[in-house]
Symmetry: D2
Subunit: 411 residues, 4 copies
Amino acid sequence: MLIDHYNKVRQHSLLLAEPLSDEDCGAQSMPDASPVKWHLAHTTWFFETFILESMEAAFAPFHPAFRVLFNSYYNGVGEKHPRAQRGLLTRPGMAQVRAYRANVDARIACLLAGELARGERERLTMLLALGLEHEQQHQELLLTDVKHLLAQSALFPAYLDTAPALAQEHAQPTAWLAFDGGLAQIGHAGDGFCFDNELPRHPQYVAPFELASALVTNGEYLAFIEAGGYRTAHLWLAEGWDWVRSQQLECPLYWQRDDAGHWQEFTLFGLRPLDLQAPATHLSLFEADAYAHWAGARLPTEAEWELAAQGVAVEVGQLHPAAAGAPGTGLRQMFGHCWQWTSSSYAPYPGYRTAPGALGEYNGKFMLNQYVLRGSSCATPAGHARASYRNFFPAGARWQFSGIRLARQVE
Amino acid sequence: MLIDHYNKVRQHSLLLAEPLSDEDCGAQSMPDASPVKWHLAHTTWFFETFILESMEAAFAPFHPAFRVLFNSYYNGVGEKHPRAQRGLLTRPGMAQVRAYRANVDARIACLLAGELARGERERLTMLLALGLEHEQQHQELLLTDVKHLLAQSALFPAYLDTAPALAQEHAQPTAWLAFDGGLAQIGHAGDGFCFDNELPRHPQYVAPFELASALVTNGEYLAFIEAGGYRTAHLWLAEGWDWVRSQQLECPLYWQRDDAGHWQEFTLFGLRPLDLQAPATHLSLFEADAYAHWAGARLPTEAEWELAAQGVAVEVGQLHPAAAGAPGTGLRQMFGHCWQWTSSSYAPYPGYRTAPGALGEYNGKFMLNQYVLRGSSCATPAGHARASYRNFFPAGARWQFSGIRLARQVE
Amino acid sequence: MLIDHYNKVRQHSLLLAEPLSDEDCGAQSMPDASPVKWHLAHTTWFFETFILESMEAAFAPFHPAFRVLFNSYYNGVGEKHPRAQRGLLTRPGMAQVRAYRANVDARIACLLAGELARGERERLTMLLALGLEHEQQHQELLLTDVKHLLAQSALFPAYLDTAPALAQEHAQPTAWLAFDGGLAQIGHAGDGFCFDNELPRHPQYVAPFELASALVTNGEYLAFIEAGGYRTAHLWLAEGWDWVRSQQLECPLYWQRDDAGHWQEFTLFGLRPLDLQAPATHLSLFEADAYAHWAGARLPTEAEWELAAQGVAVEVGQLHPAAAGAPGTGLRQMFGHCWQWTSSSYAPYPGYRTAPGALGEYNGKFMLNQYVLRGSSCATPAGHARASYRNFFPAGARWQFSGIRLARQVE
Amino acid sequence: MLIDHYNKVRQHSLLLAEPLSDEDCGAQSMPDASPVKWHLAHTTWFFETFILESMEAAFAPFHPAFRVLFNSYYNGVGEKHPRAQRGLLTRPGMAQVRAYRANVDARIACLLAGELARGERERLTMLLALGLEHEQQHQELLLTDVKHLLAQSALFPAYLDTAPALAQEHAQPTAWLAFDGGLAQIGHAGDGFCFDNELPRHPQYVAPFELASALVTNGEYLAFIEAGGYRTAHLWLAEGWDWVRSQQLECPLYWQRDDAGHWQEFTLFGLRPLDLQAPATHLSLFEADAYAHWAGARLPTEAEWELAAQGVAVEVGQLHPAAAGAPGTGLRQMFGHCWQWTSSSYAPYPGYRTAPGALGEYNGKFMLNQYVLRGSSCATPAGHARASYRNFFPAGARWQFSGIRLARQVE
């Protein structure tokens, strides 16, 4: 039943906020991140604005100011609260936002249970699916944003106290797997949900290539650091080199050394010794690209990645950078560990069309100066990943669970 | 009893936080302002660091990280949490900060009740007095900071629901009061508490001058706006004109027009119609100086203000811009309404000496590019004001309760 | 003879500086642009550093400081003078830079005339070709940079006094030309010179598409402005909309209205009435993309553009935005008018390899957050354009001669 | 004869530009500095705008655009060319600016030789005096600005090739000289020229104080550096400490170490070994104040300085930091070496009045966040210094010839 799926996804958002105080839920650690409370309200706003407003018989907003306060970036809906000041919205408080969620959920249930013309019901089903996928995207952002916030405190508090058991992936060496290439079909196929940016499915010529069987590990990345990677200009893109130098970077976002010089990593489970076997994560595209140069390889294109992923089973992440990999041989860690930077800029597929109205702003207007990441991470909700999924961030973004899978040309 | 005074001042801080949620207490609306929670913790840190640390027999900090987290600007104490990121400290939460306050209060009580050598007790008394005056300064900042925070929300929430009754000051016209000047004694006299910046008392020659009997009102300031004051370059200091233009300012900080064009002012009691009889407040020195130019007058020097204030009774503000004025004739509104900008830059008095150690940073290091305000405001705690008190802020500061009293040369 | 070609190209640079005073040649109007003098010195530095330094028998630099002063971005060569401060290099003066050019030219001539091992001569020939193409790139930049500089003066001085005769292109309507697409070969073919970024030639699948027969004209772009294009959010990429709003843009870079409201355009021939028939130019990718949206079309990909251009004769620009177009029917203005923005981000072709050493920095490290422009402009030197040529700039760049050719999907 | 004085001052400006190329004269090394050409034009604009425009019978501007191009900061005159872009004005060129000067000089001569009503002649005499003092101020700025520009070049070119002979001041030890203080008369007295900010002369009470007999030397300042002065927070004003840290400063503006670690100083005569006997210069108020703290002293107030200087003979600087000092005993180096920071903020004297109209902007509008310097420097033109002269700059300014004279309280 659609309503069951709806309730399950919606409740999962609240579940994610459970370990946090109201204070935790209100703060915003940087303009790119949003407060947990804002995620909870904005995802609700999405249902109210794009479904209830047009389909509810006697629509009245839960609160007239929320239309502006919780609009993220939809110019077609009207004004927006300034993005960098979301952390200043101490009013409405968490209690009122919870009430907002309950109110909208009840109205959605009511709408679903009621009579609807057939075209209307189809539209409702489609919009609910979109709204729930949208909420799942925010569930992952909620986690990455709260991790970034907690990392600002000198107390290094844990989001969760008990880490999942560490699934030992014993020394399975990374191999180069060869792919033939050819005229591939790229983009989403089938009847399941996908975002507009995964369409239309279209032919793309891919030259033969090789892909690493696993993600680059913390241990491998540490070797890059120790070899002077952050101090060697010729490994970096020009903009990446400026970025490294202006910010005086020397390691991934959440790495630090303790007083004895041992590497530690801040995680959702607090500060922990660096796990050398786990995939390296919280890397920018700049770092991923420099590492690939240093390793004599390159990043894959998104078409290469998708071609390789077609048919691979989707794993579910476990909020842990070392979540269990696929037990078999061959291609591992495509899903559920960390997003994998590609060298592909985020661009429309040939024949791409946006939806009419404000929903057309969902994806299309961001197709510039962003780069595609593929796969999914330990923070991606179950059921949200697929081979054709296109995640995207600017090249300098590091607060996502983003890592490296190498590719190389066939000699 | 000193302990009673201590407890009363300390409890007043908590009282001020009562109308606020934990979320309200955690947010920081701009780098110049601090979260309420931070004020509550920092004032406690002051007692722990400057008293307990040196005088407690077996000193152990309440929490080792707090020494850094709640240090404001004392380089002599060591590292500081970055000022602009005080709003990101969701941990420790409000509950832990309340526990911190209770803990330090109990230890101070214990110290006071115990045995102490005579020099030690004198030092303790002096440091407690300083710590309590320090806390009272933060009580006023707490209110100005929370006002600024609440003003960021489109909901314009009230800090207090019920405003004090409006004390009508019926049309008592402002007069010019003449002062003879001469070789005045400036600076604090007597045995009562004062800050180091009010000393030493010293002679200063003051030429004859006239002072306005009352503060500039909202109605008078509105006339300046309507006469094009914000668009007339020659009224402004060069830096003030750049400031007005770059920020595109047209009115005081919390003024706005409603849809019908009527002026409203955001107050601690929410959005209210502009009270034309009340003193104009939340003005920068730039605005105060431009208004004075327009009015054919000037701002007083701090020596002129202090000379006039010597002997004037101190009124207590009532958290209201129109708090009751002195009933008599003559000089009114010197205290309890809003701080009054002077034309004097904040500088050491001749022979000024700072305390040894980190406490020497209390005042002296800020004596540059700041301007003195005199009097007190509706938000100043009872017992905190006096004629020799020197408040100071940069010329562009507007979030304090700062207003205008005019002066002019005797022709 | 290679030496004749060398001398011709080198003399052309000096010819371009002829209409300018020494003062004109020294100034830098923005960090993206360079002084004319710097262009003249840097192109010379290229020959001295990459040829003479390794091939001259007893190499001694013309001036030891020049290695740093005139290095543009080659980290492999060592330190660089800060880019934004090139306009502060009043020493060396123009006379010394001319002497530097003459000195290096003489040494190159000497090297060419002397004995060389066969491998060495091949390498010399290759490096000279690269150096001369590099100089031609700077000849175009010299013109766009000097145009930007002259535009800063309220006197709007002309670079050249007499404009070329205006080649009237009478009302030839723009048509949609259809292309079949398919598995195209993209990249440079044949033995002629090309940059490393045009290689390797490789297959790429291109869906059927249509291309506009001509460039968008000033008159057409004016209609976009008058229809409110610069004030309509949904036409713009998200980053483009931020750009337009933060800079309060309302028209192309060099357009302005005279007192009577008539549009004028600043050109290398001074301020002139806007030529409605001429191609619109000095547009950012943001503007080009918004215009295409508004016109119900899109920008071409670089593969589409190259496929269409294969076999088209290259026209030579005449330093004039309305230089004569191809007289025939069909595809017009592919070369010699203005560079044409594509929707393709600047990325390596499959199998792309950089040269070893510092010369490997020529192109590869810029392949991020830049977009490809194709064709050539009125300022491109004769002999420098070809169908596979990849020019690139960030999306906000406007001071190049950059314009719009529309494409659209086949329905 | 007034005309002779006029011609002499005007010719001196051209003389100062003689050692420079046209390129040197056009560049602007930072927004605070101006190109030499701009100084030459702006001083001419002053005569044309404030004298010729109102007094010439048939006034026609030399060039209509110059009224805007060469207006510095007079809002009352109208629009201004943006200050930070004065270096982009390659047109008009130096030749045209020389022609502008000659033209205005001829018209001024004509005006002076002609018939004038008595009131008019008085006004002309007053305005010419102001214009010439204004030009002398710019003669000093021209030198400090060109020094700053030449310091940007890795070639460290000398403005003048031959330094004046070094007047050895053999080890005359600095003494503390006592002053009684009392009710002093401060401000300009007598009939000679002074700026409006030196008036009115007024009584000011000055407590007894001591003043150092000489300026702090490079050797003394070096001891402060070697004692860790730039790394010791408690010596600095809060804003000064932020300034030192954000700019990572370790020494005065033009000091640097050679490869062997020896200190050198860039001067108008090129790079030279640091002269330990010469007065330390190019110091900010922040550095001067920190040095004074370290030395157990303080900076003088401007009243103290003026009181001490009354009656001291004015020495003329010789474009050299070690220009000959007064041979006698007692107070030395009050004039002709470097400007001396005081602790006094730049504020109006009691009863200060500005001139009507745009000339009223000359001084008054800068009386905020600037600090007074007294004396004169090696770059001050002969005849321009006096005891009541008030120079002023923001606390962070370092490109002026600014140094330190210590004061202290009488114990």
